[in-house]
Symmetry: C2
Subunit: 125 residues, 2 copies
DNA sequence: GACAATATGTTTGATAGCTAACATTTATGT
DNA sequence: ACATAAATGTTAGCTATCAAACATATTGTC
């Protein structure tokens, strides 16, 4: 994935934000953190990079001066059109396993993750 | 994991290198890249951080002036003694799943990873 | 021995992520 | 209305990665 994007100077998370803006449309910056499951601060930095490259605009909202609406610039729309189709990654990677195997895998990873979270939170308290 | 280490100002990879030096003993820097499955350059940066903190020494080899032997300093040994036991993470996270479930999980993830690698390499050529 | 190839480590300049602290702005509570 | 709390975004400083270019040192080959 990184390899397909590198020639265009993009990283995976930058791609995902462009994907959001190109597919769903203009989006509040606020919404990206829960969507991508990363911190507000990280969103801020990555959006800055996209703005610096002239691919995305931050338009302050009229109703709430804190919030900024993100929108593709013409250059951003143009570049999006040139990008290869990366959706296959999510679709094909797991395509020919049985549903049972996929369910098992998801269950094991989910349970292990939760177990570690509980354990670490316990240690902290 | 990061949380348990943060009070000591260490990251996961730094911890792993200390673990290697404390458990196995002095190690050539060269060996760490394949061991941790990261790049030479990354090893160099992380080792630099440990050296800067005074926890690790880089001793140039006599036989081959390029190679550097990594060794804990007294401060490094001391800090290692104060660190909580993090080995439980590797041991307990997956401890009460059946072997069959673990095998399925490993197989699915391994195959998916390989498939993506092939796909991306194919695209590049 | 001399020259080319390989191995080792570092540096530079990216992306990506985190926490903590801060400024603004909006919303709440009394 | 006024003070306090919560939401939003940014910045600073850190870890972790990578690729590409570079400096040395060691090994091969001729």
């Amino acid at each position: 994935m990184e390899e397909a994007l590198r020639p265009h100077g993009l990283g995976a998370t930058q791609w995902y934000i462009l994907h959001q803006l190109a597919t769903i449309g203009p989006t509040m910056q606020r919404e990206l953190a829960p969507l991508l499951q990363i911190e507000r601060a990280t969103v801020s930095i990555i959006v800055s990079a996209l703005v610096r490259k002239g691919l995305v605009e931050q338009v302050p909202s009229d109703l709430d001066q804190r919030q900024k609406l993100l929108r593709l610039t013409p250059a951003g729309t143009g570049l999006w059109g040139e990008l290869p189709d990366l959706a296959f990654i999510h679709d094909e990677a797991f395509s020919d396993f049985s549903d049972a195997d996929l369910e098992t895998t998801a269950r094991v990873l989910r349970a292990a993750t939760e177990r570690l979270n509980h354990r670490l939170k316990g240690k902290k308290a």
